[in-house]
């Protein structure tokens, strides 16, 4: 069970009123990537892959495809939920907001078709995991790049 979610739920149920209903309608237009650092999609330096297209990356992260184009196993690794990197990544690669990604995975999970990628807490943690395992693919801040991993797609 997940305590943060239950707490959210409780908060939602106890929300005082629907008064703020209209204002966000006008104000809350999403601005994906505003102010965020540049992201790079990475695989291990041991992985022979040279580059991926955004739609290929999207397929792996949305659980549609379990292999890299060269046939090797592909396992996605996400940044933590709610992180700026994660929101920007999905906005750019899949054109989905965090809520849309969540709705997508609800569909997949509760039809038995898949589970979302596992998560790691930071760009550095993701780089370390990816460096060690040629099957993993992640996305990190460009500033966290080093020679242990290989960028396969830049997200501007």
């Amino acid at each position: 069970m997940n305590f943060p979610s239950l707490r959210h739920l409780l908060a939602a149920l106890l929300a005082p009123s629907l008064a703020p209903f209209i204002a966000p309608l006008l104000l809350a237009l999403p601005m994906p990537g505003a102010g965020a650092a540049e992201l790079v999609v990475i695989v291990s330096a041991k992985n022979p892959l040279a580059a991926l297209r955004a739609d290929q990356v999207a397929d792996i992260f949305l659980g549609q495809v379990g292999r890299f184009p060269d046939g090797g196993d592909a396992v996605a690794l996400d940044q933590g939920i709610g992180s700026a990197q994660r929101d920007e990544f999905y906005a750019k690669v899949t054109a989905k907001t965090p809520a849309q990604v969540k709705a997508y995975w609800s569909k997949m999970i509760f039809t038995g078709r898949g589970q979302p990628p596992r998560e790691a807490p930071s760009s550095v943690a993701i780089r370390k995991l990816v460096a060690d395992n040629p099957a993993l693919i992640g996305y990190i801040d460009r500033s966290a790049l080093d020679a242990s991993v290989k960028p396969v797609l830049m997200l501007h």
């Binding site: 069970m1 997940n2 305590f3 943060p4 979610s5 239950l6 959210h8 739920l9 908060a11 939602a12 149920l13 929300a15 966000p24 309608l25 104000l27 809350a28 237009l29 739609d55 397929d59 659980g63 549609q64 495809v65 379990g66 292999r67 196993d73 396992v75 996400d78 933590g80 939920i81 709610g82 054109a95 989905k96 907001t97 809520a99 849309q100 969540k102 709705a103 997508y104 995975w105 609800s106 569909k107 999970i109 509760f110 039809t111 038995g112 078709r113 898949g114 589970q115 979302p116 990628p117 596992r118 998560e119 790691a120 943690a125 370390k128 995991l129 060690d132 395992n133 040629p134 099957a135």
Partner: protein
């Protein structure tokens, strides 16, 4: 959901070396794809859930607006307000044994025909992932009809308060006990998933009766190309609905000799071959979506032959997704029946025959003909929680009671009923 995994991450990072943690989580996360060669597939389990808390209001007290034929009542005649239409809770246990074998158990609590919320095992199946692209399952499996039938109970996964009743309530059975095979193949940007299934379903009714669908066979094929998706599904089954009530009715008809037997044969629900076919398409580039479905069902029985369709469009404005839906179902089979010819019968027999004719025509009003215009909005209020507010403007047509039940003496077809719904959907 992802947050479940997050929590596990947070908890286990403290106590376990990262690689073990990674192995465990990947075991959990990748039940659908085999990773035998990366050495990271390990046994594990996870518990996930979904639910909806709904309240609905109807401005018509002469009938109940119902969302499924498997609900005892709805909103309207049995009360202006009801929380029973959309409220439910589901919990799913996923067990990953290894890269090839996994088990899923899903239990759903929602109002049943006996008015209780006694939980029901919605799915319980074992999956064998033969290759990364081919999966076989045995056990209780969701029926993949229409675009969304296999997740229609997971409100969080779709934009509306509920899936359009004109199409979806025609197949109230949501799972079958049997086998299925799912094969996916990708060619460039084209992604295709084909699923074939075979099984049976038996559901107890309150009065000792039952619904049974035997030799249910079908397939669903989903093709995606970029933001566009098309799903074609077909199903055929031998359907029986048995209740003491309806058997007494058939016995009554049979007392009228050959003409009664003809009517029994025409309308009985005893192992009748039922066919359903549907095609649905959606286009969802992110900022907005359009989707539509067309479904046809032939039952060769009291349940009639119908064509249902809907079209829906929405636009995403930040956390809000206002949408508009038009849905229509029409009866292709007769919704009135002259019934027994009573000419020349003795008065007592004619009286009994007239009562049977009246009852038959009352039964035929359940063959739906209806159109609904719905307007609403989804509000992604916070992580894992969405609130939907929806207004339905439903008009029953052609003498039918549409998707209404519990009709009172004052009920008339071809009238419009307004239903307002608020549904809070969540996943955990």
């Amino acid at each position: 959901m992802t947050t479940t995994v997050t929590t596990v991450t947070t908890v286990t990072t403290v106590t376990r070396p990262p690689l073990r943690l990674g192995a465990l989580l990947i075991g959990l996360a990748c039940a659908a794809s085999a990773h035998a060669d990366d050495g990271m597939s390990k046994p594990g389990w996870s518990l996930q859930g979904f639910g909806s808390a709904g309240a609905a209001y109807s401005n018509n007290a002469e009938s109940d607006y119902v969302t499924s034929l498997l609900k005892p009542d709805g909103v309207g005649a049995s009360g202006r307000w009801s929380a029973n239409l959309d409220t439910r809770l589901g919990v799913q246990l996923n067990i990953t044994v290894n890269a090839h074998w996994s088990v899923v158990l899903q239990v759903v609590s929602e109002q049943r025909l006996d008015h209780s919320y006694r939980p029901n095992v919605e799915w319980a199946n074992v999956k064998y992932q033969a290759t990364p692209d081919l999966a076989l399952r045995v056990g209780r499996i969701a029926l993949p009809m229409f675009l969304a039938a296999d997740y229609r109970k997971v409100g969080y996964a779709f934009p509306w308060a509920r899936t359009p009743v004109e199409v979806y309530s025609r197949i109230p059975l949501t799972s079958s006990d049997g086998i299925d095979a799912t094969y996916r193949f990708n060619r460039g940007a084209l992604k295709n998933v084909t699923q074939g299934f075979y099984g049976h379903t038996r559901l107890a009714l309150v009065d000792g009766g039952f619904i049974e669908a035997r030799r249910t066979t079908g397939f669903a094929n989903t093709t995606e190309y970029g933001a566009a998706s098309v799903r074609v599904s077909m199903l055929t089954t031998d359907l029986t609905i048995a209740t003491d009530y309806i058997h007494a009715f058939y016995d009554g008809l049979r007392q009228f000799g050959p003409q009664g037997a003809v009517l029994v044969e025409r309308y009985t629900l005893d192992q009748k071959r039922v066919n359903a076919v549907s095609i649905g398409a959606s286009y969802d580039p992110g900022r907005w979506f359009v989707m539509g479905e067309l479904g046809r069902m032939r039952t060769r029985s009291l349940l009639g032959d119908t064509t249902g369709l809907y079209a829906s469009a929405g636009y995403r404005l930040g956390d809000f997704t206002p949408y508009l839906t038009y849905a229509h179902v029409r009866a292709n089979s007769r919704t009135t029946e002259p019934g027994l010819n009573l000419a020349g019968l003795p008065p007592a027999a004619a009286g009994a025959g007239a009562a049977l004719n009246g009852y038959l025509n009352a039964l035929l009003t359940i063959v739906p003909a209806q159109r609904t215009i719905s307007i609403g909005t989804r509000w992604d209020y916070m992580t894992d929680v969405a609130l939907k507010l929806q207004l339905d403007h439903a008009t029953t047509l052609a003498g039918s009671r549409g998707t209404f039940s519990n009709v009172q003496p004052g009920f008339r077809s071809e009238r419009t009923v307004n239903i307002a719904s608020a549904v809070l959907d969540f996943v955990f």
